[in-house]
C-alpha cells in the first residue's frame, strides 16, 4: 500500500511537471531525455563522492586509532548526512564540470 501511495504520488506530480514544462514553459520534449541522462550522471557522481568520503573516513579513523591508540567508532560514518552532502558535492561539481549549454 505504501508503495502504491508513494510511487503513485511521484508519478502523478511527474506528469504534472511534464505538462507544466511542455505547455507553460514551452520546453522541448526531446531535451527531457538529455536531462534524464545528466541526472543519472549526477547520481553516478554522488556514488563516487560517497565512496571517496567513506574511504577517506575509514582511513582517517583507522589512522587515528593506530597513531593515538584511542578508539573512534567507524559507525560515526553511518550517517545519512554523508549521503546528502555527497549529493551536494556531486551537484556542484557537475554544474562546474558541465555548465548549462
Amino acid at each position: 500500500m505504501e508503495l502504491l501511495v508513494i510511487v503513485g504520488l511521484v508519478a502523478l506530480t511527474s506528469v504534472g511537471a511534464y505538462i507544466v514544462g511542455t505547455r507553460i514553459l514551452a520546453l522541448e520534449r526531446v531535451t527531457l531525455r538529455l536531462a534524464l541522462g545528466e541526472a543519472l550522471e549526477c547520481l553516478g557522481l554522488t556514488v563516487v563522492f560517497l565512496i571517496v568520503n567513506l574511504a577517506a573516513g575509514l582511513t582517517s579513523i583507522f589512522g587515528f586509532r593506530a597513531l593515538t591508540g584511542r578508539f573512534v567508532s567507524v559507525y560515526w560514518l553511518n550517517d545519512v548526512s554523508l549521503a546528502v552532502l555527497s549529493l551536494l558535492q556531486a551537484l556542484v561539481f557537475h554544474r562546474w564540470w558541465r555548465p548549462t549549454k
Binding site: E2, L3, L40, L43, T46, Y75
Partner: protein
C-alpha cells in the same frame, strides 16, 4: 560520462529494489538464522549503538534489551548480562531494573567498544563463573559475526535474534539495507584481519 550514467542508473535501481521490494527483509531473516530459545546459563545482550548524549538508548539497543528482559522473564536463564559501552550498559541496567529484573540477576561487562572486545569481556566475566551456554541477543543482521566471535571465545551459543522479519516501510528498509552493507563490510574486515 557513460560510466557515470551507468553508475547512476545502478544507484537508482538499487534504491528502488531496496526501498520497494522485500529484499532487505529476506536478507534480514537469512542472516538471523534459526532462533534456539533453550534454557541456558545466561542471557547475553550485545551492545548496539550505545546511547544518545542524554543517556537514552538507541532504538536497536533498546530492542535488544527488551528481548533480553523478555527471555529472562520466560525463565530461560538465571542471569542477564548487559554488554556494550559504559553509558549503554548503565542505561540498560537502570531500565532492566525498572522492568523488574532483580539487581542480583544482572551482570555488566566492563566496556566493549567493538564486537570483538565484547566477546573478550564476556569470556572474562562468565567463564570463571562456569557459564558457557548462553542465549545471545543481537539484531538479525549482526548475529553471524557476533555468534562467531562469541563461539570463538569459548561459549556455546543459542541465538536469540530480535524480531527477524524486519521493517515494512520504504525508509526503514533503506536503513536496513545500509546496515546490512555495513555489517557485511565488518564481516569481511574481521575475516581479513583473522578475527573470524
Amino acid at each position: 560520462m557513460h560510466g557515470l550514467r551507468i553508475l547512476g542508473a545502478a544507484a537508482v535501481l538499487l534504491f528502488l529494489v531496496a526501498a520497494f521490494t522485500p529484499l532487505a527483509n529476506v536478507l534480514n531473516i537469512r542472516m538471523a538464522g534459526t532462533a534456539r530459545l533453550e534454557p541456558s546459563d545466561a542471557i547475553v545482550v550485545m551492545g548496539r549503538g550505545g546511547a544518545d548524549g542524554d543517556g537514552v538508548l538507541t532504538n536497536r539497543s533498546l530492542r535488544r534489551l527488551l528481548r533480553g528482559v523478555s527471555l529472562y522473564r520466560e525463565g530461560l536463564a538465571p542471569i542477564l548480562v548487559l554488554s556494550g559501552t559504559k553509558v549503554e550498559t548503565r542505561s540498560r541496567l537502570e531500565l532492566a531494573r525498572g522492568l523488574g529484573v532483580p539487581e542480583t540477576a544482572i551482570l555488566t561487562t566492563h566496556e566493549g567498544l567493538t564486537t570483538k572486545q565484547e566477546a573478550a569481556e564476556l569470556s572474562q566475566l562468565l567463564q570463571p563463573l562456569g557459564r558457557r551456554r548462553i542465549l545471545l541477543v543481537a539484531d538479525p543482521i549482526d548475529m553471524p559475526r557476533a555468534r562467531s566471535l562469541v563461539e570463538r571465545a569459548g561459549f556455546v551459543v543459542h541465538p536469540a535474534p530480535t524480531a527477524a522479519s524486519g521493517p515494512s516501510g520504504p525508509e526503514s528498509r533503506l536503513g536496513l539495507v545500509r546496515d546490512i552493507a555495513i555489517e557485511l563490510t565488518a564481516l569481511g574486515y574481521y575475516r581479513l584481519t583473522g578475527a573470524l
